[in-house]
Structure formats: C-alpha cells, structure tokens
C-alpha cells in the first residue's frame, strides 16, 4: 500500500507522541489504562496504549486512516472524549461512540454502521502498529461441548437412519448445559440444518444426502461445529453396515444360511506342493463370508474337509496325504442342517 503525504504526517506525529509517553508501562495493564481519568496528564499516551491493544480493527483502521482528515488522531479523539464528561477513558470512549450515533456522526464501513469515535480509534490503532486481526477462516479442533449421548449411530445399507416422513434422516445429540445457537451438526463434512434447544441438538439430513450416505457402507464422521468461532469437535461416526446378499445355491434357490462369499482362496496351486501351508504341513482353503451356519463344511472334489467357522471366515484343512492331480477341483460349501449346498469354484492344480 502506498503511503500518502497526509498519512505520513499523521503517523510521524504519532510516533513522536509514542516516544514521549509511558506506553510500555501502560500496555502492561489494560484495565488500568481504561480507568485512566480524563484529566490524567498522560491521557494521550494512555489512549495510544488502548489503541495498540485493540483486536479485530485492522481492516477498519486502514479504511478510517485513508478517509481521515484530522492530522492528529489523538488530539481529535481527546477532544471528543472530554465532551462526554465521563469518569474514565474507557467510559468516555464508549459514551462518545453513543453520542456519535445520537448526533448523526456515523460512518459506514463495508455496510457496517459505526461511530466516528471508533473510526478514529481504529485509525489510531493501525497508525501506531496495533489493531491485530486474526484470520478467522481456520477450523480449530477443540472439545467445546460435553456430549452425553447421541444417535442413531448405526444403520443398515439402504436404510435411512431415524427416517422422517419426508425421507430425511435425523440425529440427536445431548450435551451438558446449554449449547450455543451457533452450533451445527456436521455429517461427513456437510453442515446439517440444526436446531438447538437447551442441551438437545437435533439435525436433519436432506433426503438426497441421506440416500447418498446409506447407499454406501462405511463410517461417516459426525461432528459439532460452532460456526461463530470456527471450532469443530468430533462426536463419533455413523456406521452404515453392508447388507450382504445371500448366496445362490446350486439348485437356483437363495440360501437361507449362507451369505454370498466375498472371496475365497487359494484358487491355484502346483501339483505336489502344499498350498497355503499350515504349521502341521497341511494345505488350507479359506472363504471370506459375512454369515454361515456353524455346521458349515467345505468340500474339495466332493470330499469333506475339517472345517472351522469363525466370524466372517471359514477355513478348512487339506491333509498332507491328499494330493489332488492336475486339473480343476470343485470347492463347495454345505450345511447338512439347512440341507443346502453350493459351489464356490474350481481349485486349479497345475502339473509340477
């Protein structure tokens, strides 16, 4: 930014003022500074100390500085403050701003209606190198509410959670104390229409968003965002469980006990070489499957194998003395209790 001659005059004048006063000591205790009586001999220094300490005035101060016609901001301000007859500097500043509003001495900055007093003060602040303005854009992760409970936390694929009559989904979060009205619930990065009533926060997910989420299994982070302060805190995640299709049996029926296997293996081996070799020298076959009955048995070329059914996985051992010859060997699953049988595929044995 270029400095105009007028700016230069003003700033250098101020620099001089700063030089003579007890700015450093005044800065150390802002409460004291605001309580400075208006008759104080170092009022100008105290005023500068206040200006230096201001927050969030940078943009305003720049604008005011460019528009000001006063050569000495401190003097112009003190003149206004004396008129208020307030007891202290702090009270006089606030009172002077109010008087400005009542007497039409107002000033517009970016469509904000402000008093001339605060404009002068902000200009002074920037002129003496104060007036910090933090970038408010950064989201800060911070636990600002104590969550006592929330829901729903799980749903099945395709199943809108807490479904409302219009197809939207809804969450509730209960927190300790009263939540700020600036709080929004965020699901998978999307802020939701949120209602805050005391310690109960509710939020609606539009039908379109709800469908998008429940159509893909996974975990969707749920967070609380304070839009006024840019604070965000994690609440948990909505889990969308996959709904696994049931397997199709060899006779074309849909299984009542076996889910559609997600994978199985190995599907190839070399003649005479144990595949997926186990500590006892046996080979082993495995199937990833979401659901299966405990009596499930795996078959290799029609021969029942010692089978273990565990959560999401079926394994079967192929004894060392079974040496399937080259060719394709059917791998099957059966449940005698359910009377069901189906083939997973062929284990291909290549010649050694």
């Amino acid at each position: 930014m270029s400095t105009t001659r007028r700016d230069f005059v003003r700033i250098s004048g101020l620099a001089l003022l700063v030089g003579v006063g007890g700015l450093t000591s005044a800065c150390q205790d802002r409460t004291d500074v605001l309580q400075t009586p208006l008759a104080h001999p170092n009022l100008a220094d105290r005023l500068i100390a206040v200006a230096v300490s201001l927050r969030g005035v940078h943009a305003l101060g720049q604008d005011c500085l460019n528009r000001q016609s006063q050569d000495d901001l401190t003097e112009a301000l003190i003149e206004r403050l004396q008129v208020t007859r307030a007891d202290s500097l702090g009270q006089a500043l606030v009172a002077s701003a109010r008087v400005d509003f009542s007497t039409g001495r107002v000033y517009e900055f970016q469509d904000w209606l402000l008093s001339e007093t605060e404009c002068l003060l902000a200009a002074l602040s920037v002129a003496v190198g104060g007036g910090t303005q933090e970038e408010a854009d950064e989201l800060v992760y911070r636990s600002f509410l104590t969550v006592k409970g929330w829901g729903p936390s799980r749903t099945d694929q395709g199943e809108v959670f807490n479904a409302q009559s219009d197809g939207s989904g809804a969450f509730w979060i209960r927190v300790d104390g009263e939540a700020s009205a600036a709080v929004r619930v965020v699901l998978d990065g999307v802020p939701l229409a949120t209602t805050v009533r005391g310690g109960l926060i509710t939020a609606a997910v539009t039908p379109v968003d709800a469908q998008r989420i429940v159509s893909s299994p996974g975990q969707y982070p749920l967070e609380l965002l304070d839009i006024a302060r840019n604070w965000i805190q994690s609440v948990g995640a909505l889990v969308v469980d996959p709904v696994t299709a049931m397997a199709t049996l060899d006779d074309g029926r849909i299984s009542t006990v076996f889910c559609q296997p997600a994978a199985w293996g190995p599907q190839q081996a070399v003649e005479g070489v144990p595949f997926n070799e186990q500590p006892g020298g046996e080979s082993a076959l495995w199937i990833q499957i979401e659901c299966a009955p405990t009596d499930a048995v795996m078959l290799l070329s029609g021969q029942r194998l010692p089978t273990t059914v565990s959560d999401g996985l079926i394994t079967a051992l192929v004894a060392r003395d079974i040496n399937p010859p080259p060719g394709g060997h059917p791998v099957e699953l059966i449940s005698d209790a359910a009377g069901e049988r189906f083939m997973l595929g062929l284990l291909e044995i290549r010649a050694g």
Partner: protein, 482 residues
Amino acid sequence: MLRSALTELLPEVLEAQVCVVGGGPAGIVTALELSRRGIEVLLIEAGGKDGPSAGEDAYAGVSSGRPYPLQGSRLRWLGGTSNHWGGWVRPLDPIDFLDRPGQSLPAWPIKHADLKPWYDHADGWCEVPAGDYDIEQLGLMGTGRIFDLSAGQEFQNAFFRVSPPTRFGQRYRSEIAASDRLDCWTDLTVVELIQASAVIREVRAVTTSGTETRVRANQFVLAMGGLEVPRLLLAQSEVPGNQAGLVGACFMDHFGIQPGRLLAADGLRYGMFDWNGQTIIPMLKPAEGLLEDEALPNASIRLAATRPEQFLPPDYWSNRAISALQGGEAMTYDVIFINEPMPDPRSRLTLVDQQDSFGLPRLQLHWHLPPGEFGRALRLVDRFRHFVGQVGLGRFQWLRREGLPEGQTPGIGYHHMGTTRMSAAPDAGVTDPNCRVWDRDNLYVASSSLFSTAGFANPTLTICALASRLADHLADQYRLQP
C-alpha cells in the same frame, strides 16, 4: 358425534341451532365453545378425519403479483392447517388495534382490552401456559440471553410462546366425538349459501362422491380459513357483506426480510428455547411510542447466530474500549424482521372461470406487496441499526437495503388475513365488531380473514380468541330467549 359423509348415511337435511363450516382451529373452537354452553351445533368439515380424502385439489388457484403458494399454505382435513402449523403464539399488541400513521383503512373496531379475556381463554385452546406475555415475568433479564432494555427505549424485548403444537383435529377429537350437542360431519364441502334477503336459510353441502345435503340452522359461522371464507362468499350470486367491495380485498400475510447482521454480545437467545418449563421465542420489537408517531410497521426482530464476516470480526466487539462488554465474548448474528403488512384493497382475492370438482370457482390471489411496503420495513431496520449503536448493544451491517423486486416472494408466514375485515361501519369492512357479516342477520365469520390490521404476531391465538368471543356472543342470544 363425529361422522364421515362418505361412509355413513347422509340425511337429506341436517339441522342444528348453529352451523359452523370448517373444522380447523377456528371452527373447532367455535363449535366446542358453543356445545359446552349447551347449544346444538353442526360442524361441517370438507376433508376427512385423518386426511384430505379426495378434495385437496379444491385449494388450487392462480396467483399474481407476488407468487403465493395457495395449496402448500393450508391443509384440508379435520384440524385444518393446524395439522402442520408451527405453534408460535402471541396476542396482537394493543397498538395493533389502533389507527396509526400511514394506514389508508381504519384499524380494528374493537380494542385489545375487549379481546384480553378471550386471549386468556385461547391460551388454553393452544395449550400454552396462561398469563400475560410480559417478558419481565420470565426472569430472563440480566441472564445475558436477551438485551437489558428498559421501558421507554425505542425497541423492546417481547416473546412468543410455543404450542406443542396443538393439532386441533386430534387433540379435540374425543370431545367432538363424545359430545351429544355437537354433530361433526367430515368429507362434506359447503358450496352454496341459500339466502332469503338478509338471512341465510340453509347451506348446500356435497361430498366427493356427489351426495348432497342441506344444512339448516339459526346462525351460520364461516370458519374455512382466510382464503376459503371470501371464496365461498364471492361465489354466491348475491355476495354477502360486499357493500363496500371489500370481500376478498386487503389480503395480508406477514412478510420476512433478513436485512443485515448484528455484532453483539455472545449468548443472546432471540430464537426458540426452553426456559423454566415453557418453550419460548424471545424477540425484539419497536416500542409502541415509535409506532404511534411514525409510519412504521410493527415487527418482530430475531437474531440467529451466524458465521463471522471478514471485516468486523467478533473480536472487534469484545474490545472493552468499544463495546463495554465486561470481558465477555461477542458473536455475529443474522437479523430477521417479520413485518406487519398494511391493508390495501389492491391486494385481493377474486374468482376465475375455472371450477373445482365441487363446482366452486377457483381463486385468484393478487398479492400486492409493493416496494413501498418494503420501504416502511427498511425504515424500521434503519431505526434499529441506529438504535443498537446509540444504546451500545452492538453494530449493524446491511446485507440488503432494497426491497424485493416485484414478482419475487419474500419469506411468508402462511397467514391469510384481512379478506373479510372487521369494521366499525359497513363502508370500511365486511363484518361488524361481533363478526357478523354487515348485511346478513345470521351469517358470521371466525377466521383471520376478520383481521382489520395484521400486527406481526402469528394469527392462530387471535383466531381462537375471536372464535371463543363469537361463541359467547352467539350463546348469549340463546340465553336471552324466553
């Protein structure tokens, strides 16, 4: 008794002392208040007990001026539009009943004090705690949730109460069904007033399947909502109450604008929350003195916490040298004004050639909300933005200084008011102060269509108060009979 004209045998003639047409809040309150006083009442409701049956298309119509959702803004079954209302309740302010600068038509012929006992009664119908709407009594002052404002300042604190919300058709169904004085027929649409000079002799009512009946009564109360009451009147070959050409005229709805942002203390609650066992919505409004002196609309002003804007962050207002906030934090709020519209005969309902399936001509609503209306509202905003500065409450930023261009719809309340306005003399309205249609001896209205002016308060509490008052007035006539 509660019967459906589609499933029960509909007599050719139905008779009672009073016939109430329309089973929304207005009709249900009128009918039950009458039956509780021992009067025999017929309540005729066009829709079903739990849904609109087949007649909802009757609400379709044409809108011009500002686009208006004629269908989406009302429901057609027992309980009427209360089947999806929001439940905000508040009486009109005393000043709303008075003539004010800038009004081209007279205000109400009754005063707030005339309605006060009925407002207390209406609180019960809407299931909110009884008591004055006096913010002082809430004990909110000094809690930091609302501004500490004192009497005499240009803007004041006030609040809405929030009904559960009462679904009138469900909430009062058992009493309707159990009453031996009240005969409620659903699925029956009144389509014609059979008149003989100054009286209504009977009304003709039909079902969606084409069955028809005549309803005879000593008095008829039209309670079909602020659009259907004038529609039925306009559809008659001799339009009752139209001596001043005001049937259907002066349509009003509360319109909302979001003109700006406010930087103020953190923690303000000018929105819905629970407080000491009741749900309330605090708000700000212009003081009566301001409205007495200037052509400004009454309005409610609410604040909703929002993202800080880049030029004047909340930090700015936490500087004690600027805001005098005693060490507190600040917050940016969106500012929402819900404004009182002015009665204007150019904003009106008429009928078009097309008919609905019951043979009633469809409605055309010309919603005339000219830039001047926005101008008044924006002048109030301007007063507010200076006020907050003068008293040191905060700083205001304009987001929108102009009214909405013609053809665009502002925020609306779905409140249909003014179309059969109440007046002190026949040349300024459709009904007299007792809700009777000026030129008919036995035709009455219970609806927000009676509102001479609109204030800013949502209308249902006033509708219920007027309906209770009307029932008492009608019952009086029976008490006086030998």
